[in-house]
Amino acid sequence: MKKVIALLLALVLTLGVLGGCSKGGDKTDMEYVKDKGTLIVGITDFAPIDYQENGEWVGFDADMAKAFAKRLGVEVEFKVIEWNYKINELNDKGIDVVWNGMTIADDVLAAMEVSNPYLKNAQVIVVKKEDADKYPTAESAKDLQFVVEAGSAGEETAQANGFNYKSAESQADTLMEVSAGTSDASIIDLLMAGATIGEGTDYADLAYTAPLNDEEYGVGFRKGSDLVSELNQFFKDAYADGSMMETAEKYGVQESVIEQ
């Protein structure tokens, strides 16, 4: 009996694999998207990258995705996905692209065709402006009293570097601590730092230094997709004509854009 079941299972699996092969046909990914007339973009709610305003998806990635779809001559459709299942969604054609501030890492590179990096993120150390020059590296800052958001990437970074830290409820609370001098330094996202501290904010007295653990964002397509080279070309053109920087400035991420 067991053997029969095993045999049946083997048969089913073989059929599945064969079926998977035949489904793709000889259409390229770009032709597939153009034929159906929509580019389905897999996202999560993540300001200032992809977030809703008056019922519409906006943000740096959302706006760029709209422009890319326009260039392809197709409609754009945003689909909120479970982030852990992004690769499954992509392979099942539930979405055509993962475009949501995705950090380029080994697992992502193995499973997807990934674009050139377009935005950099990092955990950065925030200190008083006048002290900024004193702490260019993580090593130089190790005697400071840190404050980080509980459960954040900043807290992980503080642990990894062996910093002495207190945890607060939000990244915003940590900035108040540093500004008041009740903690020496905070660790927050570079993207948030770009938007909330420095000139023109209430935290003009703060500055960020020493990026720790650099991360880069990329856009993910199905393995072997020809849309990647099209997107890389789109990034080059958008960077060259200034529209990429313009969009970035709209969402306060201009300092993180990577030259294309």
Partner: protein
């Protein structure tokens, strides 16, 4: 898991108790001084004291904590609290003591003013000095009368200690809440209620006992 939660919450509750006792030790006497000030026959002192009581009772304790801890650094550009835990605890003590002293002072004032004038006059007729009249005749009666309102205020204090977390002093609520972010479990937060209930139960019994002990004379 359960054991881990109990250890974390108990550590948090020790901080809660520390804030509670330090506040009582500071605020009980300070409240009496403020009460004398607000009953002073010297008008400027009386006005200043009543203005202080108005401000402290008229604004949230949470705001007072933030102002006392972050205010010096942000507004004056000089942080007086340092960057260690000691400064945070000290700021909590200062904010809580001032706040509770103001509430206590009004309770004291009510108690003191409830003693009939006739007793002061009787004391004077017997040749006692003013301090003698206050400490030997009036005070014991005041203590007796203010036990119920004081117990109210003191039980409120136990729960108000939770505000200390706003300046990163990790009391029991904070300890419970960390489990939401760390492990995705919410029951430790609600479990903190047990600690409050047990301690407030003890206080309730204590006040009941004190009231009974003081029930030697009905005036």
């Amino acid at each position: 898991m359960f054991q881990e939660v109990i250890i974390a919450l108990s550590e948090g509750f020790l901080k809660t108790l520390q804030i509670f006792f330090i506040t009582l030790v500071g605020a009980l006497p300070l409240g009496l001084i403020i009460a004398f000030g607000s009953m002073s026959r010297f008008r400027p002192i009386r006005s200043v004291m009543r203005a202080i009581v108005w401000v402290i009772r008229g604004t949230p304790l949470m705001l007072q904590l933030i102002a006392i801890f972050y205010g010096p650094g942000m507004l004056l550009g000089y942080n007086i609290w340092g960057t260690g835990n000691f400064g945070r605890n000290a700021a909590v003590a200062v904010a809580f003591i001032i706040n509770y002293a103001c509430y206590f002072s009004e309770i004291y004032r009510g108690g003191i003013e409830s003693i009939p004038r006739g007793q002061y006059e009787a004391g004077q007729v017997l040749g006692m000095t003013r301090p003698q009249i206050f400490f030997k005749v009036v005070l014991a009666q005041v203590v007796k009368r203010i036990v119920p309102p004081m117990s109210n205020e003191i039980i409120t204090l136990v729960k108000d200690t939770a505000l200390a977390r706003i300046i990163l002093v990790y009391e029991v609520i904070w300890a419970g809440q960390t489990f939401i972010k760390k492990a995705g479990v919410i029951w430790p937060l609600f479990f903190t209620a047990i600690y409050y209930l047990l301690f407030n139960g003890l206080l309730t019994i204590l006040f009941w006992y004190i009231e009974k002990k003081l029930d030697y004379y009905r005036g």
